[in-house]
């Protein structure tokens, strides 16, 4: 048996699963110290089933805690950012693009030293180890322990980052080093920013991991715990200490993964309808489609892998307003005050939920409170809700093919009529705790993103190299080698570069060696 937990801003959800079945589920308020809310939610499901804590095989936790901590500049450590690439890239220093409050919280030291690579992986200059040692002395003098290392084209050749890390660990015992090649992709500033963010969160990650470990031990759970990553796979609690930044988008990912698991449909559109927003994403072979664009976090440009999510201000608590132009739903919402402010709960605000109750789609609160609503208004409002939902879903389609739609989240019950252009709508069981389920079913992955200068005939060999690197990465992350498969290969020719240069992105996944997760289909 395993436990999946989703720590959201408002609720902490927990489920106990055995194989493919959800045995128990609960929702509890999120606590300020997240380990306490996790403990309470897990205790609730354990008590409900009356199981022995020692029979739990693993605990999987998805949380938006680290991204929220970063955006709010809470509990961040000062970071020394060292960039290898001089004389290239000297026009824009590390931290130069950061908003002031985050720079104040994180910028401890920065240096630009000789090193870095060209697009073909040949060095711009060899790594200047003398400059690196000078930087190390200054970092030691300032008492900074978190270091972010970034070299130009590190995603093509990570040799210098690795060599520099070795030297720094040698001369600065106790320092912890984040390599940009491990967190980001093409785009120096975006990758460097991701590395710095990660470094700033590592002490907090250590604290949170220890607190969760203690909370589980207090419950008598002896199994290891894992944390959901942006791409829907899991990392060990030890890896969390190194790579907290990889949890940033795990909330949305888990709802998509949970929708997949609960429905058994691997290629689908997913709409997670909450109280305030609807998140629409796309599943490809059971995994979220990733964003190809840069992603801003707290006003800082990054490019780590995040699911491609369209968020629209449409949910169960959305306010309904009328004007000359017609009827409007959202983007503002009564949010968690739905149970006091909506008409059906005796409040005075007309919400999307009230319309759904009046239309007979939803059973919630007191239907008499909305029986006097103008029928034409209800009609137009319900049409507007469905029209906007259909429009958001249509924007996320990957191709002209008609994919089925999976509806999850507390607001899924508001959908009562056909959505134009979406013939096949599936509402899985336990849809309201889809993200805790998503956490519980996590697998592990390996990914490569490299530029190959492979010539006209070397394409096949380059793809083969990327495949074997991705598979190796998945096994290193803890996958059972017999379950590892390559699920994604992207082969992108590079603009203007001669000689058939191409960027190849490859991802492999497998079940954790510790436990086999039975999957649908």
């Amino acid at each position: 048996m395993r436990i999946g937990v989703d720590v959201g801003g408002t609720n902490t959800d927990a489920v106990i699963m055995e194989d493919t079945r959800v045995l128990a589920a609960t929702k509890r308020p999120t606590s300020e110290d997240i380990s306490q809310g996790i403990q309470e939610a897990i205790r609730a499901v354990i008590d409900e089933l009356a199981v022995q804590p020692s029979t739990i095989d693993a605990v999987m936790i998805g949380t938006t805690h680290f991204v929220n901590a970063f955006i709010q500049a809470q509990g961040l450590a000062p970071v020394a950012a060292i960039r290898m690439g001089f004389p290239a890239s000297r026009s824009i220093r590390p931290f130069a693009t950061w908003p002031t409050h985050l720079r104040d919280a994180v910028m401890g030291y920065d240096a630009l030293i000789e090193g870095g690579f060209q697009f073909d992986g040949s060095p711009i200059t060899p790594l200047n180890e003398t400059s690196l040692l000078e930087a190390a002395r200054e970092i030691a003098d300032k008492g900074i322990r978190e270091i972010a290392l970034t070299s130009i084209f590190a995603q093509v050749n990570s040799e210098q980052e690795e060599r520099a890390a070795e030297i720094l660990r040698d001369v600065l015992p106790g320092a912890s080093v984040t390599l940009s090649s491990r967190v980001g992709r093409h785009g120096l500033l975006e990758r460097e920013n991701a590395a710095i963010m990660n470094a700033s969160l590592r002490p907090l990650a250590a604290k949170v991991a220890a607190a969760i470990g203690k909370a589980l031990a207090d419950l008598g759970i002896t199994a290891p715990f894992f944390v959901s990553q942006n791409d829907g796979t899991l990392m060990s609690s030890a890896h969390l200490l190194e790579m907290p930044v990889l949890t940033f988008a795990s909330g949305a990912t888990n709802s998509l993964r949970g929708a997949y698991f609960l429905s058994g449909v691997g290629d689908a559109l997913v709409a997670d309808i909450g109280g305030t927003t609807t998140d629409v994403g796309v599943l490809l072979s059971g995994f979220p489609r990733q964003s190809s664009m840069h992603v801003d976090v707290g006003g800082i440009r990054t490019n780590f892998r995040m699911p491609d999510i369209l968020s629209v201000g449409l949910g169960g608590g959305s306010r309904v307003t009328q004007s000359e132009g017609g009827i409007a739903i959202g983007p503002t919402s009564v949010g968690y005050r739905l149970t006091t402010e909506a008409l059906v709960f005796g409040g005075s605000v007309l919400t999307a939920s009230d319309l759904a109750v009046a239309a007979g789609t939803l059973r919630l609160g007191d239907p008499k409170a909305v029986s006097g609503l103008d029928r034409a208004l209800v009609r137009r409002g319900v049409d507007e809700f469905h029209g906007r939902l259909a429009d958001a879903i249509d924007r996320m389609k990957t191709g002209p093919a008609n994919l089925p739609l999976l509806l999850v989240g507390g607001g899924a019950a508001l959908v009562g009529q056909e959505l134009p252009g979406i013939p096949d709508v599936i509402r899985p069981d336990h849809a309201d705790v889809a993200n805790a389920v998503g956490a519980a079913i996590g697998q592990v992955s390996g990914e490569v993103d490299r530029t190959y200068n492979c010539g006209e005939n070397g394409r096949a060999a380059a793809i083969e190299d990327a495949r074997s690197r991705a598979i190796r990465g998945a096994i290193e992350a803890g996958a059972d080698p017999s379950t590892v498969t390559v699920i994604e290969i992207e082969d992108i020719p590079l603009q203007y570069l001669p000689g058939g240069a191409r960027r190849i992105v490859c991802r492999a996944i497998g079940d954790l060696a510790a436990i086999r997760v039975g999957n649908h289909g």
Partner: protein
Amino acid sequence: MDKKTFIDSAMIGDIAAGAAFLGTGGGGDPYIGGLLCREALDRFGPVELMPLSALDDDAAVFIAAGVGAPTVDLEKLMSLDQYDCAVRVLERRVGRKATAIIAAEIGGENATAPIAYAAMRGLPLVDADGMGRAFPSLQMSTFSLAGISCAPVALADEFGNTVMVESQSAEVAEKLVRPVVTAMGASAAISCYAMTGAQAKSAAIPGTISVARTIGEAIGHDTASNKAPVARLIDALESVLLYRRARQVFRGKIVALSRDTTGGFVFGRCEIESPDRQSHAVIQFQNENLVIEIDGAVAVIVPDLITIVDFDTARAIPTEALRYGQRVAVIACCAPPQLCTPAALAVMGPAAFGLTHPYRPFDDSPSTTSKGERNELPTIG
């Protein structure tokens, strides 16, 4: 007495947005160029934007630009020193010091880089450029058409290594420059077409930096007009005269997309379907958008400008950022008259890109005037 105009860092966002539109899909990510510009203007102070007509005949006008793969620039972040290196070495070669800086093209990153460089040198930036849009090759320039020699061409890498290319023609210079750029890491600073003020006045397309700013302002800022961003964009294009006529030639959703690299360029096509699904448009591009066909008929063709913009925000979408499902409008406008002469069309018209259709100004084309808002224009020719 004329009041001087200055560019400060608050204007960079608008100029970059306008330049992204005029880049017609190419020209790279304006993000890095914008950062470099803001930093330079904050450090060195505002740049005087000098009208082309105000140049002295004997002024020494120099280009500062980047050449190579925009994707590489995202890693190597070209510095002002690198532009400076290319310009200085060309100054030494021709025996003159720059008294003004001019943009090679008004599309993409090369529209903002010369602003940052002019700030560093404390020189005025001429309000003009050599393309009135963006093009992929050195010879596709009004400077070349006016008989100004492209060579000597100075190239510089991040170390200050330089190469001087001497050649008989801009076409040959283009051929010799590409392998040097690759050896420099696929991204280099370039200075070429060294010219006098008199030459610049005879060859450059005037007012284009201001035009980029006007376009960017119209897209980004709601005026009292209460119009949608796309409508504001079209109004702005028509108000500046340079592009004579502008129109939304299509709107819809991207339903198919393909991209491939051949010979160092990205070739591809983008298919858009109208909201009622009755009408289809196909855009072909080679880094920049070249031609749009609507329901099988050519509607607009290079050198007229074709830009795909986000339907809601009117922000230009570069070729590499196009995706299935995006709601877009296709905005076209006439190329500046300098690009439409027979001599210009031979260098930057459809044939120069291997297209078999002849050039025909887009608002003269029956396939667009027969649809939607009819324009009562006198028949030309």
